[in-house]
Amino acid sequence: MKFAEIQKKTSDLYQDPKASVAEYLSIARALGDVQASDIPPYVRSLKAAFLASYTIQGLPEICIGRGVFHNVRVETYLAPYNQFTQEAINAKSGLALFDPQIIYVAVDVPDVMDTNHLNTVARGLLEHTRAKIIFFNFVSSSSISGERIEMLNTMLADLEKKEDRILIFDFAKFVDRIGASDHWYTKYKDLGDLRLAPHAFVPLSEELMKYAVARAGNTKKCLVLDLDNTLWKGIIGEDGMTGIVPDHTIQEHIFALYEKGVILVVNSKNNDADAREVFEHHPDMILKEHHIAAWRANWQEKERNIVEIAKELDLGTDSFVFIDDSGFEQERVKTTFPEIAVLSPELLTDFSGFYSFKVTQEDMRRGAMYVEERKRKELQVSLPTEDEFLATLGLSLIIRKALESDIARASQLTQKTNQFNVATRRYTEDEIRSRAQAENWSIWLAEAKDRFGDYGIIGIAMVEYADNTTRIDNFLLSCRILGRKVEEVFLHVVLDEALKNGASRVMGEFIPTAKNKLCESFFADNTFVLASSGEKQFIYHWTAEGKSYTYPPFIQLTLV
């Protein structure tokens, strides 16, 4: 079998809660025949030894199979049955010669004489190997005095505290979790001293893998998250904000990973705005947008998003974990990236790949650091200079005098426009028409379009000429065109035309309303000078002397 096939098989087995011991045994056998050259470089090797006072045959083989899923090639040594003491204290024992990087010590209470015995074993292992030593703690049972168990467990705790290389695996908690009555001291104990039933080996192997992963230096760094039916029950695009229910169990777990330094990224088939809405406004979300280091809520293939995310974060995909409720997406990601650990959401809490021996301050900050980096990059990418941005819009502006056919629209604009409307004078069609026909009035219209479409008539300037002062009677713009300097271009066209008409001064009025604060500094911003101010009216004057205006190059201006 090719290594890639074995990878695929272990990945499939991982998803299957009913995966049997026999399946894993056959994987371990198949792996024995794989050529070293067939194994990808991101798969790290690890030598793991097992030392037990009861039968754990099969467990090392299952760890070999599980290792493949975690990108670790585990080589194992199983010490002879109940010879843990000899193996530990003999400098030339099979264990010592194997030179393991990690040793699992599974010793049961009846096989330990006293704390001194336990200490001797620990000293022997420390002296004769350079391995991380993982002691299973002692499981209580009705037939053994609680005092004795407590004494032994205290001894282990003491060793763990004193020795960097010694760690305790909470085996008692594990047995309790999977159910002591079905797994600990069952009929298998009588059949072959399998005090732990063989069907407990698969979940146990996942617990043990965390030490292997950490020792091999293959701890996962990045968790790629699906959203619908993963972080919450329901589909945001269909069920809406009130229809979805954030899953607190998984989110709390993911948040704990984030605090340990795991980088969180979103990879979801969704409308970007819908997905962000949940993170920003759903009251039951534990995870927030600021926990996410890379964000892909779109409709392109998830594999493509993964490639982009890896590039963006500068991480190898072999450090990725992908969770998704969809078997289809799991399958695609598994096939494209055999190095990625692919999980159903419900398997995440028991997944061992994120384990590291010591969580440093840097680890704890890592998730946040990547988020900050994203924000910084987003600013760089999304904020070119304003003019550069506007140039990309391809905005063109036509300014012309109102024709009879424009009267209805012009009147409507004076009636409806509230925000960018300096004087807010409302005119009927007849009033507009009579002024448009008058010699001493100009009704200017602005029409705009850009690469996104044609906006039609978006502004009106009504100008009255009297002697040498031109009065801007009405000046307004539709809000959807603001922020592109259209208003100032429009104003300066009006001013230029006034000068051509022989005006030496132009007067503008700002008449405050409840809604037009947006344009209160419009005249002042465009070199008008405040001439008089009252409660209901601000009068500005503009003169041509010394004033120059450069039309922005990004607006293509046509004057008709």
Partner: protein
């Protein structure tokens, strides 16, 4: 659902066709004590039964396994197809 023969073949890594009711540890090389116990867990899982200690110890060949399953109300006559 896997048949008894399929499970046995898988655990002992042998071809299904060589398995008969008389097959025993004497003629199946991989049928050692450990793989024998793996077989017990696989059968218990596949047929959702739990064998007693005595039942496991009493098994001498494939025919005995089938008898045990029958005693647990498992109809295996159709599983051989």
């Amino acid at each position: 659902m896997k048949t008894v023969e399929e499970i046995i073949a898988h655990v002992f890594q042998i071809d299904r066709s060589v398995i008969t009711d008389a097959s025993s540890p004497n003629d199946i090389e991989n049928w050692d004590s450990f793989n024998g116990l793996v077989l017990v867990t696989e059968l218990e899982k596949a047929f959702n039964v739990s064998f007693s200690l005595d039942e496991v110890v009493a098994v001498k060949n494939v025919g005995d396994i089938k008898k045990s399953l029958k005693n647990h109300g498992i109809n295996i006559s159709g599983t051989n197809s």
